[in-house]
Amino acid sequence: MAHRIVGKPIGRLDGIEKVSGEARYSGDVTLPGLVWGKALRSPLPHARILRIDTSKAKAFAGVLAVLTARDLPNILVGRRMFDMPLLARERVRFIGERVAVVAALDPDIAEEALALIDVEYEDLPAVFDPVEAIKDGAPILHENPGAYDGAPPERPHPNVQSVLRFKLGDVEAGFRAADRVFEHTFRTQLDHQGYLEPHAGVVGIDEDGRVQVWASNKMPFRLKELLSQALQLPPAQIRVNLTPIGGDFGGKGSVMDLPLAYHLARATGRPVKMVMRYTEELMAGNPRHPAVITLRTGVSKDGRIVARRVKALFNSGAYAAFKPAPSVNLGGAGMGAGVYRIPQLLIESFCVYSNNIPCGHARSPGEPQMVFAGESHMDMIARELSLDPAEFRRRNLLRDGDLLANGHHLEHVRASETLEAALKASHWSEPKPGPWIGRGAAMTHRHIGVGFTNARVRLESDGTVTLLIALPDTGTGAHLVLRQVVAEVLGLPLDEVEIEIATTDDFTTDSGVGGSRVTHTGGRAAYHAAEKLKEQIQAEAAKLGEPASALSAIAQAAAREGRTLEASHFYDAKAHGAVTSFTAQVAEVAVDPATGQVTVRHFTTAHDVGTIINPIGHQGQIEGGLIQGLGFALMEELKTEDGQISTLSLGDFKLPTIQDIPPLTTVLLEDAVGPGPFNAKAIGEGSISAVAPAIANAVADACGVRILDLPITAEKVYFALRAKVEPLVPPVQERQS
């Protein structure tokens, strides 16, 4: 069906404040008397705190307050499992854990004061590698994790935070029936989300004693709940004010420094701003979990997968606090099944405590790790079976009615169409342009997110319409999408629909941004609210004998009777539907045999999408996610040595630059059935996960070298190439835990 506004390539009208520098992010918020908070962090991965002397810091000119755990209530915080103290109490468990906090007149004074705090530690034995952490006799991080609020019951080892299982059929029977069985183990690195806005927040207590919060947080209502728990205040006493967020990618959903800012505000009687330095982000943010993943797959003679067992160890670091899922695990573990029909399946995912930085959610949590392992494994099996990797995939792709690992059954499956589209666009079957050049394919799929959103639309007296929404702007362009939806429904030009950003006072709840949810839940909430308003308008028009298009006349007539035409809708999508979005990607790489350097010559990405509401924003999500996937594949790594991260600036932890992006071909298979407004699907997390395996498979195709651990550095490829001809070579750089 043809739309007026939906599907039109409309630029970022919502961004005038952003291009003009007027947009106020949390770190830009200022209030009268505002002071700065800074945290002192542990230099040791595991130690007992014997003594903290803050007297010198307190005496430093310009310092207003210095707090340690002693000055705070003994509260544990988290997003789902509550195991992290506000400030370290008696014991630190990772390098970068907060042990004290200072409020001062400016950030430099606050940082100077930190150096004046004396802390005496006593080392404790530490453990860093997840495999070591769950052995008998490993140092224990938390004496009784089962006692923490939100802790899942199953705990095979005290250093296990959570276990997540996906089971179909009888996997052992499956292996017995298999003609051949293949097993490979993969490792992925610690990686930061890379948003350029470090965590920032301002907390003030207003004259009514209400706690006013401005924070780089994408879930304002959940934040309000979490703060109410952390601060022991009734929710009504907290107001979260929405600000634009300078990049999220999964990382901006916790309370982070806000409780400390609150206690400093209490101690100083002033509003307090806390902004992490980027070094602190890299040392103590909540980065993507590193993983050790073993896949064991049984196949039949004719190249069909009959059974698969997957074991994933996610190195979660010192606390589980940053994981929001009820499982306190990573849903991405389910992608151990890939995009394939696997009758007998067992996936077990363990999140493990260690004396490292606590990890959290990052764009499609757990999936880039699992898809790298799974799609590399698929190519390695295809090679063993002397099958074209594309053909091996074809024979095993999901079809209508098949089950996902989580038991959901699928409809409208377009896995094979998506694969064929990517193969065609990438000239898969054509000869390669030269030696040391290879092609690799990889696939994944991503659910369309669920959750709940409130929307309210109001007819203004000038005939324009305002959409009130409490979804923060993380940059995806969702606000523009929602305006397009409302304008489409009401038959208005786009510039007659405005967005008004709500606070947590305006609605009762909202699941916020994340999980490829907003176009679906926000879009449907806005759609239905607009439909309701449309009915009111038509009724009013009939009463007045005016055409329904005479909006200002209708609004003014209602106003004269003291009424405002307004409609709200609460949309709540509980369970995932039977539809997901498939992705197929092909990388063409060149390997320099003398250096091992990998150059991506061309990248093809194909997506099974629904109705595209804003093509520019949609393509932006694909491109942004894809380049994050490229960084994950080739260069990004938070290097740790015994819990100490050594890449503590963007000079050492490298993100892709504008000179590092490959030529790109995008293929969109539109007009699928989607649960969003106008049949929309989701795209935000569709392009990141298959990039690394596509590149790894292309490297193997180009030079016969299989890299099992990310990132695929030139050095790893170089020494692996050398190892093929010479048995004795220096080891590839020591693996990071």
Binding site: G596, L634, M635, E637, K654, Q659, E715, Y718
Partner: protein, 291 residues
Amino acid sequence: MNAFEYRAPRGLDEALAVLREHGDDARVVAGGTALVTMMRQHLVRPGCLVSLRDVQGLDRIEATNGALRLGALVTHREAEVSPLVRERLPVLAETFRRVATVRIRHMATIGGALAHADPNQDPPVTLLALGARVEIRGARGHRELPLGEFFRDYYETALEPGELVTAVTVPLLPVASGATFLKFLPRTADDYATVAVAAIVTLEPDGERCREARIALGSVGVTPLRGMAAEAILSGQRLSESLLQAAGEAVKGVVDPLSDHRGSAAYKREMTGVMIGRALTQAWEAARRAR
């Protein structure tokens, strides 16, 4: 950052006087890209910061007999785009072009880069191969040092307390010479080099045999290094795979890299050999064309 006194003298003598006055407690700053960053990290805490930014006469690029003279306050960007440098020493302009990003090149000065003596920087490599000399002013007057004697250790130079770099003089290439700078960047385009090499080849009149080769290596030791052994192997020889192999092996013998985020010591050693082979090939071809 800590609180400090800021002084911005307008003349060199005044600057030297301020340095004398504050002694060990003073730090010299020009572009600030290295020092201010370290001050922000609380690694350097000067009592007094002496800025050369307003000192007159240190920002010129001039041709002296057979050489180019670049004042200490010339920025990397100015050296990169200077018509004089591009025409007389294109390899030097190209080297500056490879440093970090345009924004940083607008800030960082040549004098600052030399005094900072970070062995991972690019320009010192090419300057070393070109046989540059550093001009130094101090209380006891003026002195000059070959760059090879100027760098002493990580971030350590031959500068005495109270001394300043005022300029660097770079001899032009002899006839029938070609020069190449290669920066190996296996990660991102804006990274520090994993290995950086500069090679200069000067040919005999026959246009075939190498009269003289000069090789310098960056990011593979505590200072930029000369590949003298390799230079000796090359002189008098014709270009051949085996010759490049031998030169590569020779440079691997002199490097002493650190393992870091840009590669293990073993990998950097291997890559030095590869890069020098490529640089020599390019320099050799350039030398042929230059005849």
